[in-house]
């Protein structure tokens, strides 16, 4: 795929709409998840200080530590509630995510009704793939943990940096492995979108792609993941350097940067999803013929 044309396709009006929709939905979900925690901080009395909650970000963290000490049970409770909300919203976010996939796969802009109808069709398969992906990652992490435990006996014969370096390498390998699981399941989702096959069949297609041509999707996936992680780290560094406690303008700039980064994360993911779609065969394609992602059903409303 030509990068320029790929970007043009990615930013086509239909895709732009789906990207923004998914971004807004995830942003709203994040607000729901964060609200209990933020409410505990806000209710701690810190807002009555002349500097307000800027004190939580001051060097030395005296007030941050104080609020955590005094509000610890409430914070843990809020975190718990937040995680349950995250679970619920993660399920709800399946809908805009499927809409993003459908939109990316469509050759032209889809009407709202068509987009919704096609998306609904894919939700059960996506839900199953999501659950299986979670289970596979948990199993992989468990195996990695058992492997690390088995290796720990060897660490007594290594120097401390070697032992810690080995543990770090093992941790990174585990993360890469979990990324590979995500990669395979994204290919499975792509197969489902392109050919409408069931979740398990789609998984079979994805594994087939992984066997035949592992490099192109892997490069694209890890490039997208790396770019996202790098972007988050750079944003954190810039926001840290901004020192939001020093004035409202700095805070506003930091908030804008965070918004931009969160949108960029969705855009980068959409870029990868489009690449994933191009990696899986459509019905009737030969295995090598997997570049253009045609939509399996025409859009009567388009």
């Amino acid at each position: 795929m030509n990068p320029a044309s790929g970007l043009r396709t990615l930013l086509a009006p239909g895709n732009r709409r789906a990207i923004v929709l998914f971004w807004l939905c995830r942003l709203f979900a994040a607000w729901l998840v964060a609200a209990p925690l933020a409410a505990v901080f806000a209710g701690s009395g810190i807002r009555s200080y002349p500097q307000g909650d800027a004190l939580l970000f001051e060097p030395g963290s005296v007030l941050l530590v104080e609020v955590v000490r005094l509000e610890l049970p409430a914070l843990v409770g809020a975190l718990r509630v937040g995680l349950w909300i995250a679970l619920a919203t993660a399920v709800a976010l399946l809908f805009p995510l499927v809409a993003l996939w459908v939109s990316l796969a469509a050759p032209a802009r889809l009407g709202w009704g068509t987009l919704a109808a096609r998306s609904i069709d894919h939700v059960p398969a996506f839900a199953l793939l999501g659950g299986l992906s979670l289970g596979a990652k948990a199993l992989f992490a468990l195996v990695a943990l058992l492997f690390a435990t088995a290796l720990s006996g060897l660490s007594s014969r290594m120097s401390e940096p070697t032992a810690d370096g080995t543990a770090l390498a093992l941790g990174l390998a585990t993360l890469l492995g979990m990324g590979a699981i995500d990669l395979v399941f994204d290919l499975a989702r792509a197969a489902r979108i392109r050919s409408g096959v069931g979740a398990l069949a789609a998984l079979g297609v994805a594994l087939g792609v992984g066997r035949r041509q592992p490099l192109p999707p892997a490069l694209a996936f890890y490039a997208a993941t790396g770019a996202s992680a790098g972007g988050v780290l750079v944003t954190a560094a810039i926001v840290g350097w901004l020192h939001v406690e020093r004035g409202p303008a700095r805070f506003a700039l930091a908030a804008l940067l965070h918004l931009a980064m969160s949108l960029a994360l969705v855009a980068v993911r959409a870029w990868w999803l489009r690449r994933a779609l191009s990696c899986v065969p459509a019905p009737g394609d030969t295995p090598a013929d997997t570049v253009a992602p045609p939509d399996p059903t025409p859009d009567p409303a388009a």
Partner: protein, 701 residues
């Protein structure tokens, strides 16, 4: 769309249920196992205070040594005035009076982890009374069996809550004085505690008059336990501390300060001269108290001779894996011993010592010894880290901590170094008054760390900084009113409580006094105390007298109350009211008194500030008006509340007590401010939403 939903096939519905089940199970696992552990970890950082003072007194009774009527820590004489002579080093004591001196030869069996020793102990009766008995500390007997005071707790009440996996002991095999065998006269003596053999009593055949010296010939075998807190072995690493029979300290009035070894307590001993010969396997790298004066190789072994005066203990370490770094710092030969891969750790410790050694010397008197050894134990022997002995300290921590911005290594290095003054040079009774060594050391450490590293003195992660003072203050506040700082070590419920009160709260009390009444004056008081009582054994009275001398009765009384009562302080702004001014109305007898028409204020108001707790400090209060003006008032802290009246052309909208946060002892900082319309809290909401967004991006669909 609803029609589509209905049209989902049975297979698709089954898929949906499976997905739901898997996700729910994962969430339940997270909620049941991960979150409670995370909460417990946080709780350990900032523990809740004990419920009541009475429950505190009852806590840990089974672990507490029985009361010892002979044990007096503080001399009964009121301390004499110190005076400005001790504001510098001109009158600093040059030498300690040698009371208990040890000339010992020790051989390490690195396979059995035993040390066999023999030699001469000279003890001088420095008290005013003849001595008819001699008390001994055999600290390693604390690890002899599970009936000892130290190991009796099934939970591990020591600072690492770790139990020895291998037993340890010290056995005196020969004890002779003037040709008489004294061994049969030696009896275990932990009053009311017959199973503990850490305190022994020797009945002397003849009294030793005041000023006379008794020479004892001794042979012993010590078996090191596996590393448990301050001593022991781990694989081929040995930290050999409390390894020889040690004579207890006799106070000036003739009473003995002896006690069984409690897991929360440390040590107390007289100064003396040490001449120690160590016979170790040749491959061992050795670090020890004192100056190495000789080293000879004998086949597969080597013999090293160490000498030092004016100390009250001798510890050493032997491990083949040590690397070494040497540097002269402030005229002191610094020797760092560390495992391979810890080069960064060693340089980090060195950087801290370069700053802290002259820093402490300037404030508390010159460091008098020509050497200092810093030992960074290997990771498998980590519990032996963070300990002080004369001219030898142990640090610790993972090699990568300095790279991550965690300043734990710097903190422990500076803390143990500060102990060279408050423990080493001012040898207070650590069992009776642990705050005199640990508390003053923590304050000194905090002072040095904040000057050296600023707000990132505990963690410096680019733009997110946590100061040691912030965490220490929070830990101290969590135990406000929970117990007495000035209690003996054995009287705390557990090491967590001791840590919070003795370490954190003492430092916070001193920090508050310095902030409120003058840090320079506080340093003058501590400097006088440290210099005047160098090579002596002062008690709390001496510290309080120094503070009284430099400050006044109020400050000294406040310090005494903070140390010896479960006293606390919490300032809060409870109310801010402001209303438009209006002329008084009603029925007046005679002429109604009114203000001149030209000067009435537009607004009047009232601010209510409370002080809860038994500690009183003067405090500033800032009043804020709608236009952003700030008016400063001062309250002397008398009474439990004060009301501040306001008159002005602008509406009063808020107040803040202690705006410079001088009173770090304040129990709750979140109630120090009041605003009629609180700020929106947008920053924390924005940051939380972004964090949740990233969470959903990583773990969500």
């Amino acid at each position: 769309m609803g029609e589509r939903l209905v049209r989902w096939r049975a297979e698709e519905r089954r898929q949906l249920w499976i997905a739901f089940g898997v996700t729910l199970a994962a969430a339940l696992l997270l909620d049941t196992f991960v979150l409670p552990r995370a909460a417990a970890a946080w709780t350990a950082l900032a523990p809740a205070p004990a419920e009541t003072a009475s429950s505190h007194d009852d806590a840990g009774q089974a672990l507490r040594p029985p009361s010892n009527p002979e044990h007096t820590a503080a001399p009964s004489q009121p301390p004499a005035r110190i005076g400005p002579d001790y504001d510098d080093d001109r009158h600093l004591a040059r030498r300690a009076r040698p009371v208990a001196s040890y000339d010992l030869a020790a051989r390490l069996d690195a396979e059995r982890h035993t040390v066999t020793g023999k030699g001469t102990i000279r003890w001088t009766n420095a008290s005013s009374e003849p001595a008819t008995e001699l008390y001994w500390h055999l600290y390693l007997n604390a690890f002899k069996n599970e009936r000892t005071l130290f190991l009796r707790s099934p939970f591990g009440a020591g600072r690492t809550a770790q139990r020895a996996a291998d037993w340890g002991y010290t056995k005196i095999e020969r004890l002779v004085a003037a040709g008489a065998d004294l061994l049969p006269r030696l009896a275990q003596h932990s009053p009311g505690d017959p199973d503990d053999q850490t305190s022994l009593r020797l009945e002397l055949p003849a009294p030793v008059p005041p000023g006379e010296t008794l020479e004892l010939s001794v042979e012993f075998e010590s078996k090191l336990p596996s590393i448990v807190e301050r001593t022991g072995y781990s694989r081929d690493y040995h930290l050999v501390a409390q390894w020889f029979p040690k004579i207890a300290r006799r106070e000036a009035d003739g009473t003995w300060a002896h006690f069984p070894f409690h897991p929360q307590a440390e040590f107390y001993a007289d100064y003396g001269d040490y001449r120690i010969t160590l016979d170790v396997p040749a491959e061992m790298v050795v670090g020890a108290t004192g100056r190495r004066v000789d080293e000879k190789r004998h086949g597969a072994r080597k013999v090293l001779r160490y000498e030092i005066g004016d100390v009250h203990d001798f510890a050493w370490t032997a491990w083949p894996g040590f690397l070494e770094l040497r540097e002269q710092v402030d005229g002191v030969e610094l020797r760092l011993l560390f495992p391979a891969g810890h080069e960064t750790s060693a340089r980090t410790s060195l950087e801290s010592i370069r700053f802290a050694l002259p820093f402490f010397s300037r404030r508390f008197g010159r460091y008098p010894y020509p050497m200092l050894t810093v030992v960074h134990p290997p990771e498998h022997a980590a519990p032996s880290g963070g300990m002080e002995y004369p001219t030898l300290i142990t640090t610790g921590g993972p090699w990568y901590a300095p790279l991550l911005g965690v300043r734990a290594l710097e903190t422990v290095t500076v803390h143990e170094l500060a102990h060279q003054w408050f423990y080493g040079l001012v040898a207070s009774n650590e069992a009776a008054y642990p705050f005199l060594d640990e508390g003053l050391t923590s304050y000194a450490e905090s002072l040095a760390m904040s000057q050296l590293y600023g707000p990132g003195s505990l963690f410096d992660g680019h733009s997110f900084e946590v100061s040691e003072a912030a965490v220490r203050r929070a830990v101290a506040a969590a135990y406000a009113g929970a117990g007495r700082i000035g209690a003996p070590a054995a009287h705390f419920a557990d090491f967590q409580e001791l840590g919070a009160l003795v370490y954190a709260r003492t430092a916070t009390v001193l920090e508050t006094i310095g902030n409120v009444y003058g840090q320079q004056k506080l340093l003058t008081a501590l400097g006088r105390y440290a210099r005047r009582y160098r090579f002596e054994h002062p008690g709390p009275k001496h510290l309080l007298a120094a503070v009284r001398e430099v400050f006044d009765d109020h400050v000294a009384d406040t310090l005494e109350r903070a140390l010896f009562e479960p006293a606390a302080v919490d300032f809060s702004v409870d109310e801010v009211r402001s209303v438009p001014y209006r002329e008084p109305s009603g029925i007046f007898d005679g002429e109604r008194s009114t203000r001149p028409a030209a000067t009435p204020p537009r607004f009047v108001g009232r601010v209510l500030v409370r002080r809860r707790g038994d500690l009183r400090f003067p405090v500033e209060i800032d009043l804020f008006t709608e236009r952003g003006d700030r008016l400063r008032r001062r309250w002397d802290g008398r009474g439990t509340f004060t009301t501040l009246d306001y008159e002005g052309d602008d509406r009063l909208v808020g107040a803040l007590v202690d705006p410079e946060r001088r009173i770090t002892l304040d129990h709750d900082l979140t109630n120090n401010a009041f605003r009629s319309s609180p700020e929106s809290g947008g920053r924390i909401l924005e940051r939380s939403v972004y964090a949740a967004y990233l969470l959903l991006a990583v773990a969500g669909p």
